[in-house]
C-alpha cells in the first residue's frame, strides 16, 4: 500500500477528508492561529506532512508549539509541548493585531454567503431563542489574520442566508452606527488585511469571490454532486465554477490522523472499513 496513494471510497470518512482538505490550505512557514477542535487536528496534520515549519499559535498563550499529544482546547497543557514560548492571552492578541498572523484556522458553526459567522445567538439578540457560546476569539482572529479558513460539519442550517447576528466578520459587514452593509475592504480601510478565504465542510470546499466576497463551491467531495451541495445551503450557492472533486486523503494522512494524532478518537471516529 503506497503511502502517498489516495485512499479509496469507504477507506476514509467525510470527516477525514474535511480534515485533510483543511490541512492543505496551510502553507509551510506560515504563522497560524488555530481555534479549538477540528482545526487542531487539521493543523497538526499539516505540521506533520507538507508544512513542518508552520508556526502554531493558540490564543491562550502558546507560540510556535509542537504538541506531542493532541490538545483538546487552546488552553490545554498539551499545547505547550515544544513551544518556542508560553505566556498569555494579551500577548497572543497583541501580536495578531501587530500583523504577525498569516492564517486563522477556525471551527465554524453558522456561516452565511459572505463568510459571516454567528456563534452568539439563535434568533433575535434582544430576545434570543438560544444563547450560544459567544464569540471567543473568532472575530479577533478573523479581523487580524491575512486569511481565515473555517472547518465545519455540513448541515443545511449551518449554511444560512443571513446570520441573525454577526459574531465574526466576513466579506460584507455592517457599518455602525447605521448598520448598512458594506464591503469589508471599505469598512476596514487601512486595517484591511484579508478575510475568510475558504470553508471546508464534510460536503466540499468553498471559497469566496475576490471582488464580491460571495461564497462559491470550489470542489465537491467524492460521492457528492454540486447540485446536492447547493441543496444543502439555505442561500443560492454558486456552483458554476467548480474545479472538480476534492482529492481524497492519502494513506499516510489517514495513518497520521488515526494512529498518531487522534488515537483516542476524540475528534474523528475511525473509518469502519479500515
Amino acid at each position: 500500500m503506497e503511502r502517498h496513494a489516495y485512499a479509496k471510497a469507504g477507506e476514509y470518512t467525510l470527516a477525514d477528508l474535511m480534515t485533510v482538505a483543511a490541512g492543505r490550505e496551510v502553507m509551510d512557514n506560515e504563522v497560524v492561529f488555530a481555534g479549538t477542535g477540528m482545526p487542531m487536528i487539521a493543523i497538526m496534520l499539516a505540521q506533520k506532512t507538507h508544512a513542518p515549519n508552520l508556526k502554531l499559535i493558540f490564543e491562550a498563550g502558546t507560540f510556535d508549539g509542537r504538541p506531542i499529544v493532541t490538545p483538546t482546547s487552546v488552553g490545554d497543557p498539551r499545547c505547550e509541548g515544544g513551544a518556542s514560548r508560553a505566556s498569555g492571552l494579551c500577548e497572543a492578541f497583541a501580536i495578531a493585531q501587530r500583523g504577525y498572523v498569516d492564517l486563522g484556522f477556525l471551527g465554524g458553526s453558522e456561516v452565511d454567503e459572505y463568510g459571516n459567522v454567528n456563534t452568539t445567538v439563535i434568533g433575535d439578540y434582544l430576545n434570543p431563542d438560544l444563547r450560544l457560546t459567544g464569540s471567543g476569539g473568532d472575530p479577533d482572529i478573523n479581523s487580524f489574520a491575512r486569511r481565515t479558513v473555517f472547518i465545519m460539519v455540513h448541515e443545511a442550517r449551518r449554511f444560512t442566508r443571513n446570520v441573525s447576528y454577526i459574531t465574526s466578520p466576513g466579506w460584507r459587514v455592517k457599518k455602525w452606527p447605521s448598520g448598512e452593509w458594506v464591503h469589508r475592504r471599505e469598512l476596514y480601510g487601512r486595517a484591511f488585511r484579508g478575510g475568510p478565504s475558504a470553508v471546508i465542510s464534510t460536503a466540499g470546499v468553498f471559497r469566496f469571490d475576490d471582488v464580491t466576497g460571495r461564497m462559491y463551491l470550489d470542489s465537491y467531495h467524492p460521492g457528492k454532486t454540486p447540485e446536492e451541495i447547493r441543496g444543502l445551503c439555505q442561500f443560492d450557492l454558486d456552483v458554476s465554477r467548480t474545479s472538480g472533486e476534492t482529492a481524497p486523503p492519502t494513506y499516510e494522512e489517514l495513518h497520521i490522523i488515526h494512529e498518531v494524532l487522534d488515537r483516542e478518537e476524540i475528534f474523528l471516529p475511525k473509518p469502519r472499513k479500515v
Partner: protein, 325 residues
C-alpha cells in the same frame, strides 16, 4: 519578615466577596478556575454578582445556575469538549434573569490590560463590522447601569476615534475592566503572596492588577525564599496579593497544569444535568450544599483523582480518557 500573615481559609475568602461585587477569575475556559471558592460562594448564598471575565467556563455556570449572578460581561462560555455551550447562562438570558454584555475575546483581554495599567481604555481595530459593535446591543446601557452610580462601570460600551498619528483610520476604544475582586487558582504562592504559575498564565497577572482586592487560592503555600531564588520564574509579585488560601484541588473539575487534568466526566455530567433549573438544583443538592471542599473530594474518591493526576514530566494526565477509545 514580621508582616501579618496573609493566610485565610476558603470560607473566609468567600466572605470577603460581598453581594454585588464586580468579580473576575484566573484561568481560561476549563483550566485553572477557582471552583472550590466559587462553590463556597454559592454555599454562602452570594447574590447580585457582576462577573467580568476574559472568558467563562464551568465556574461561571455554577454561579449562574445557583442564582448568584445578575450580570455576565465576557465573550464566551462553555465547556469545550465536555459541553457545547453555557446552558445555564442561556436559560437565564432567555428568561431575562441575567444581563449578558458581549465583547470579543481580544477586547476583553485588552480591557483587563488597560485596567491593569491604570489606563481608562485601549484602542483596537478588532471585530469591525460585527454585531458586537452594534450600538443597539449595549446591554448594560439599555439596563441603565452606565449612569456612573458604580464608578467602575464605564459610561459607554465603546467609543470610536480616528487615529491622529498615522492615519490608520477608525479605532474602537474598549473601556478598562475595573473590578473589585480577582480570585485566582494557581499552583504555588509564597507566604508573602508571590505567585508562581505553571504553564500558560492566560490573563492572571492582568486581572490581579485590574482588581482592587486579590485572593489567591493555591495548591500549595510555599516558603517565600524558595520562590525568590528565581525571580524571573514568578508571575505576580507578593505586594499585589491580599489574601492566600492553601487548597488542594482548588480548581476541580477544571484542570491544573502539572497537577491534575480536567475532569471531563464531571463537567459533561454537569452540562447534561443542568440544562434545566431543576437539574441544576439537583446537582447543587448533591455537590454544593450541605457539604464542603474536603467532603467533595472524598466523594470524588481516590481512584478518580489518581486518574486525573498529571504526569510530572508532561504536565497533563496520561491516564485520563478523553475520546471514545
Amino acid at each position: 519578615m514580621s508582616s501579618k500573615s496573609k493566610r485565610i481559609t476558603l470560607k473566609e475568602a468567600a466572605e470577603i466577596i460581598r453581594d454585588g461585587t464586580l468579580l473576575t477569575f484566573s484561568g481560561f475556559t476549563i483550566w485553572r478556575r477557582p471552583c472550590a471558592l466559587v462553590l463556597e460562594l454559592i454555599r454562602q448564598k452570594r447574590r447580585n454578582l457582576h462577573l467580568v471575565e476574559v472568558n467563562g467556563g464551568p465556574h461561571s455556570e455554577f454561579l449562574i445556575g445557583a442564582g448568584c449572578v445578575d450580570v455576565w460581561e465576557s465573550c464566551w462560555i462553555g465547556h469545550e469538549l465536555y459541553g457545547k455551550y453555557g446552558a445555564n447562562l442561556s436559560r437565564k438570558v432567555k428568561n431575562k434573569e441575567i444581563i449578558c454584555e458581549d465583547y470579543s475575546h481580544a477586547e476583553m483581554g485588552f480591557r483587563f490590560l488597560a485596567a491593569a495599567s491604570g489606563m481608562p481604555f485601549l484602542p483596537t481595530q478588532t471585530s469591525l463590522g460585527t454585531d458586537i459593535h452594534n450600538p443597539e446591543y449595549d446591554m448594560l446601557g439599555r439596563a441603565g447601569l452606565r449612569n456612573g452610580k458604580n464608578p467602575k462601570i464605564a459610561r459607554k460600551k465603546y467609543e470610536t476615534m480616528q487615529d491622529p498619528f498615522f492615519g490608520d483610520g477608525e479605532h474602537v476604544l474598549v473601556p478598562a475592566a475595573r473590578v473589585d475582586v480577582a480570585v485566582l487558582s494557581v499552583q504555588q504562592v509564597g507566604e508573602e503572596g508571590t505567585v508562581r504559575i505553571g504553564g500558560q498564565f492566560f490573563t492572571d497577572p492582568e486581572i490581579c492588577r485590574a482588581a482592587d482586592t486579590t485572593i489567591v487560592v493555591a495548591e500549595e503555600i510555599v516558603p517565600e525564599e524558595t520562590l525568590r531564588r528565581e525571580p524571573r520564574l514568578n508571575d505576580i509579585p507578593g505586594f499585589q496579593v491580599d489574601h492566600i488560601v492553601e487548597c488542594a484541588y482548588g480548581a476541580h473539575p477544571t484542570g491544573m497544569f502539572g497537577h491534575y487534568d480536567v475532569d471531563g466526566d464531571f463537567i459533561r455530567n454537569f452540562y447534561m444535568q443542568t440544562r434545566t433549573q431543576e437539574g441544576f438544583d439537583e446537582f447543587a443538592r448533591e455537590w454544593i450544599f450541605g457539604t464542603d471542599h474536603d467532603a467533595y473530594l472524598s466523594k470524588l474518591g481516590v481512584a478518580r483523582l489518581l486518574n486525573l493526576q498529571a504526569n510530572r514530566a508532561l504536565n497533563f494526565s496520561t491516564r485520563v480518557k478523553r475520546g471514545h477509545k
